[in-house]
């Protein structure tokens, strides 16, 4: 597997600027998630994941109904990650409110049309605000947080039973470690020796109500996860080289990469809004103009 640090940095920069632009145009949105996880998505889609080409068109279909007997042609958004194959990787996207980041990552790597965000959160579109199963890049229903890791464990178990060699990856948010199901899933995966299950968590320390340490502490996360039988790797989530090593080094256990990230990375003015960073809303035109200045500064940086 070859990976270019420069390419990954370019993708990460593209994710940040594109999401920032969208949030400014929209007047509000999930910006902190893009700022913290840009390198995670850039690494996943920029070379860590072994994926096939998009299965079908890079143009997203409109919403075509929910799965069920009456809808036999239903397809999940997983096709944007390529057709499954025994030696390929899978990505199970867990924090569904990161959808804007996911769509943007797909755009940056050419898996989704560059103008696709025009349909974001529009009625009748599959690019829903909280990523749905039919949304590009999404394989399962995970808007109710902490359900993805269990489903990925089931997929990884099935793949092992079939002798497949590809990894099953989960992209997670740190708030999900407050849910009991996550710990059930961690126990299950280590007990069943699912060594081709890998997760990367955007540990930005933030949740709806504020800082996680003020709302519901999960630390020391690495020690806890290690005690559950996983290979926990704590790393600076913006350090591409270190992240790449942590994500790809071999292991005989399920792997959790704890990416320590900054929810205001690259947008210093955003620090003023702490500790409420979950969704960016502007208190005044003056405040918005300072964010616009920060956006111009970011776009000129490269």
């Amino acid at each position: 597997m070859t990976i270019s640090e420069e390419d990954v940095a370019r993708i990460a920069h593209g994710i940040r600027t594109r999401v920032f632009e969208h949030v400014l145009r929209n007047g509000e949105g999930y910006l902190s998630q893009a700022l913290s996880s840009a390198e995670i998505f850039a690494l996943l889609y920029g070379g860590v994941l072994r994926l096939g080409p998009v299965d079908g068109s890079t143009t997203p279909a409109p919403f075509v109904g929910v799965p069920g007997r009456e809808n036999p042609d239903y397809r999940s958004g997983d096709r944007f990650n390529g057709a499954p194959a025994p030696d390929r990787d899978r990505l199970i996207f867990s924090p569904a409110h990161y959808a804007l980041v996911l769509y943007t990552a797909l755009i940056e790597v050419g898996r989704l049309d560059s103008d696709a965000l025009a349909a974001f959160n529009q009625d009748g579109s599959s690019l829903e605000m909280i990523g749905a199963e039919h949304s590009p890049g999404v394989a399962t229903t995970t808007g109710s947080l902490a359900q993805a890791l269990s489903q990925a464990a089931g997929i990884a178990l099935a793949r092992r039973m079939r002798g497949e060699t590809g990894n099953t990856w989960v992209m997670m948010s740190d708030g999900e470690f407050q849910e009991g199901q996550t710990w059930e899933a961690l126990s299950f995966a280590s007990f069943h020796g699912l060594d081709r299950l890998r997760a990367v968590v955007d540990a930005n320390g933030q949740q709806c109500d504020g800082r996680m340490c003020d709302v519901g502490e999960i630390e020391p996360l690495a020690e806890r996860v290690t005690a559950f039988g996983w290979d926990a790797r704590e790393v600076d989530g913006h350090d591409i080289d270190a992240m790449h090593t942590a994500m790809t080094a071999a292991s005989d256990r399920p792997v959790l990469v704890i990416a320590r990230t900054n929810p205001t990375q690259g947008v210093k003015v955003y620090e003023e809004k702490a500790p409420l960073l979950h969704t960016l809303r502007f208190a005044s035109d003056e405040e918005k103009s300072r964010f616009e200045a920060a956006y111009r500064e970011m776009t000129e940086a490269r």
Partner: protein
Amino acid sequence: MEMVTRPHVQNFIDWSKDRPEVLVLSADLTNSCEVGKWRDTYPDRFISAGMAEQNMMGVAAGLAREGFIPWIHTFAVFIYRRPYDQLAMSIAYPNLPVRMVGFLPGIVTPGGVTHQAIEDVAIMRATPNMTILETGDATEVESVLDVTEQVDGPVYIRMLRGRLPRLFPVEEPMRLGVSRELRSGRDVTIVTSGIATEEAMRATDVLAQHDIDATHVHVSTLKPFGDPLIEDAIARSSGPVVTLENHTTIGGLGSAVSEFVTDRGLGRRVIRMGLQDTYAHGASKDYLLEQYGLDAYALVHRIGSELGRELEITREEVSAAPVEAAAAVNAESL
């Protein structure tokens, strides 16, 4: 009446033999759910989830997405109560072929309120994509496995265990969406499911001895619900429709029949017998059925009273009524 001991044990092993896609998931109730021997027969296809039902639902969903057919075996309460969000979002929404075998339906267990699934049918009926089957005897426990093969989506089964009556002939297996007309009469229509059917069979024998002729329909597909046989059965009798179920009267069989009668404009009174919006407690099945008015005696007297006949029938008289294997009436011919 023939009694059969633990029919699920060997039947499920035999049925799984040439179905390598069938897996069993268990949450520490393997022998209690009669799959201990299955585990020993197919150890590579048995997945111990431990006491962690939320995760088990997600794992089952993942396995199903990859082409396996996971058969979750646990107590019904631990399927629909504790991990409902996981059941709904990980399994039901994507319409995955996960089979959820729920043991201890209603008040068949001395395990008390924590182990008694009294509102499972209500919750599962309200869950889109869900198919609900309920077993009423050994024949249905054996044949419900085949019925699931017609369902491309999740199936919830109210399963019986242990020593069971064989009310229906082996050559008349459970069929998806098809009810059984066990008796035809002009005075009242009785609709039952699960263990309530045996009680009703006993009751209709006693009623017949007192010149009350009931039509009796047994239902095993609770969702989707709508066998035309039920409409015919209701039309044939002049009296009310009486439902008896091992479940709360809100949202279960009684509600399904009421909706059916309303939707079709049949204009008939529906009397729903079952748990009257209450939790139960731990005690023997026979005691609980009597205590909560779910037994043959309660049904006999309720029907007598509704028809203006105060029947002088003792509990002993009802208990003494033998239940004959119901081969007399062929549902298809009616």
